[in-house]
């Protein structure tokens, strides 16, 4: 087992995209922050700025 897994991390050059996609928690961060900013926060700000009817 142990030897096999050592074979597994034979050094190799990984591209930027590959490293991004292997970083699961960075993806989680992006997948939550992007819609929170562009959809929720932006949307809520627009509604909050509406004048209230008298």
């Amino acid at each position: 087992m142990a030897e096999q897994s050592r074979n597994g991390d034979r050094p190799e050059k990984l591209s930027f995209w590959q490293r991004l996609m292997d970083n699961h928690f960075l993806l989680l961060f992006l997948g939550v922050v992007i819609p929170t900013v562009f959809y929720i926060l932006w949307g809520i700000m627009e509604i909050a700025n509406l004048p209230i009817a008298e």
């Binding site: 096999q4 997948g31 959809y39």
Partner: protein, 578 residues
């Protein structure tokens, strides 16, 4: 005694606790589907105007329960099973924190029961969207909140399993594509559930009188961050299952792993923004917000779906051609195992999702032409193409695959299983096409009486609209029958199917007891090897080796362009500009 068993037929490894948890979640999902399906009959027979089965208040109760059981409980329970499969089984890793996973399941189950009690009592007929200021009973919201918390725990069990697999080096290189797709689903799920909490917790407090007022416009914006994204969990999940199924049935490898992964990445980054397409007719939000979130962002996500829609059949075509099915454009497809419900279910779901779901989705997501069909029966028609024929039929196909592998039973009534995807989809496609037509004529969704009898302000629909609703009713009844066939086969197999493993008894089928301990005879499976590089990937790029798929894609494009411009033309006649 070890931790894993290996399925002798498929070679998949099952961790002892993941094994039972997958069964429990899948079974709970199927029960919810049964409820949704029985209620569907009430819905469809009421919308078929000459039958007009239920009285108004019952109709809205039934419609609320139909939507929630179908869209939320069936699909999410099943998805949790898929997440555990994609992490533990595919990565050959023990499941992280099984006690937490059971706690999550318990919360989901009690939440689902609590919510159903609230709805079926008739005092919470607020539709699945539960827009304020309509108020449901407190346990309606509380049930949904418990369900969401349970699902969130399950997502973190999934993430935890990924971490363990990496630490314990159960796989080489990157996670397999199917797991990456499931990761996409789990990421979207975290955002979905967080949004659900932001909107439902205050609403719950309002229902018990703690908060005086909830702003209706705010509610809608945040609710759809939850409601739309939850559909995108489904897309990511069923696309992953498509890749799994072509791998299992044909030994197909994605034409380019890189491209498919990139398409999932586009989902993670952009798919959720398209939630704004539900708000296109709301006042109070700027066109900039609407158009940025639908057009620009949504088209990147649509691009990703087109990539999957091309590479899934393309990869299957390449695999089939390499086995010698090279005659003409379509021998690879003609000679596919059409009698195997795993295949037929998957392929029908791919075609209907792509052609009908995809094309109508883009039309509805375009700010201007959305106006033609907003809030008409066109909308349920669209999402029955995506979430019923797309997601649900894919999950049914996966169930057929899992009956022997996970439940260790032979399929009960295989002939019924063989016909099921055809009956179900024939009924559903009829329902969909005719409701798309009726919606274009303006027939409302969620409307008990299209005849407006006794209404002060009434409206006369054209006779064709009534006719179309009737034909969709016939399709709906057929679809309910097809759904029933699935339930009979699935539940029948768990109870009466021939045992492929002596200890796979009744209790084991329903996750109430574990399989015999000696079945788990493997301490840790061998490391999951990195797949050999495909020749295509080594050369960088190469020609498209799937001419049949290319032709199908061109047909899709032509259908889309024609239909899109017909809608613009129609818009110009609805709103004369001269």
């Amino acid at each position: 005694m070890g931790q894993f068993r290996q399925c002798p037929d498929s070679g998949f490894f099952f961790d002892k606790s993941a094994d039972r948890l997958m069964k429990a979640n899948a079974v709970a999902g199927i029960v919810a589907l049964l409820i949704a399906g029985v209620l569907a009959l009430g819905v469809i027979l009421t919308r078929w105007q000459s039958i007009h089965l239920l009285p108004a208040d019952t109709f809205y109760t039934v419609l609320t329960a139909h939507g929630i059981n179908g869209l939320i409980f069936w699909i999410i329970f099943f998805e949790i099973a898929v997440l555990y499969f994609a992490s533990s089984t595919l990565l050959r890793c023990r499941l992280a924190a099984p006690k937490w996973a059971w706690a999550g399941f318990g919360l989901m189950l009690s939440g689902a029961i609590m919510n159903n009690i609230a709805v079926l009592s008739g005092k919470s007929s607020v539709m699945m969207t539960s827009y304020v200021p309509m108020q449901a009973q407190p346990h309606f919201y509380l049930g949904l909140i418990l369900f969401a918390v349970g699902a969130l725990i399950a997502c973190f069990v999934f993430f935890g399993t990924l971490v363990i697999a990496k630490d314990e080096k159960t796989y080489e290189g990157s996670v397999p594509l199917v797991t990456f797709g499931a990761l996409t689903a789990a990421i979207i799920a975290v955002f979905t559930i967080a949004s659900g909490a932001i909107v439902l917790i205050p609403t719950f407090l309002w229902s018990i009188g703690y908060i005086a007022h909830i702003d209706a416009a705010m509610y809608r914006v945040i609710w759809w961050a939850f409601g739309h994204s939850s559909q995108q969990i489904n897309v990511a999940a069923h696309v992953s299952i498509w890749y799994l199924i072509i791998g299992v049935l044909f030994g197909a490898r994605p034409m380019s792993e890189k491209v498919s992964r990139f398409a999932f990445l586009l989902y993670i980054l952009f798919l959720q923004l398209a939630a704004a397409h539900h708000i296109l007719t709301d006042p109070g939000l700027s066109s900039e917000w609407k158009i940025f979130n639908t057009s620009y962002a949504m088209y990147l996500a649509v691009l990703a779906s087109l990539i999957h829609g091309l590479t899934v059949p393309g990869s299957m075509e390449v695999a089939q051609r390499s086995k010698g099915l090279t005659k003409g454009l379509f021998e690879w497809l003609r000679k596919a195992p059409w009698g195997n419900p795993v295949f037929s279910g998957f392929f029908i779901s791919l075609v209907v999702f792509g052609f009908i779901g995809g094309i109508t989705g883009v039309v509805m997501g375009t700010e201007q032409i959305n106006l033609i069909i907003h809030n008409t029966i066109y909308v349920p028609a669209h999402f029955h193409a995506t979430v019923v024929v797309g997601t649900s039929l894919t999950f049914m196909a996966l169930t057929y695959l899992l009956i022997p592998v996970l439940f260790r039973r032979q399929t009960f009534l295989p002939r019924v299983a063989q016909w099921q995807p055809y009956v179900f989809s024939a009924g559903m496609v009829t329902l969909i096409l005719f409701q798309l037509g009726a919606g274009t004529l303006g027939v409302s969704r969620r409307h008990w009486d299209m005849g407006f009898s006794g209404a002060t302000l009434s409206f006369d629909y054209a006779g064709t609209a009534y006719m179309m609703m009737a034909v969709s009713g016939v399709g709906g009844v057929l679809a309910v029958l097809g759904g029933g066939m699935f339930i009979v086969v699935a539940v029948g197999s768990l109870i009466f199917g021939k045992k492929l493993e002596p200890s796979a008894g009744f209790l084991q089928s329903f996750a109430l007891a574990p399989l015999a301990p000696e079945v788990y005879d493997i301490e840790q499976p061998e490391i999951l090897k990195r797949a050999e590089k495909l020749p295509v990937e080594e050369h960088g790029s190469s020609g498209f080796h799937a001419p049949g798929t290319f032709v199908l894609a061109m047909i899709l494009l032509v259908c889309f362009v024609v239909y899109y411009f017909i809608n613009w033309d129609y818009l110009s006649s609805v709103w004369p500009m001269s």
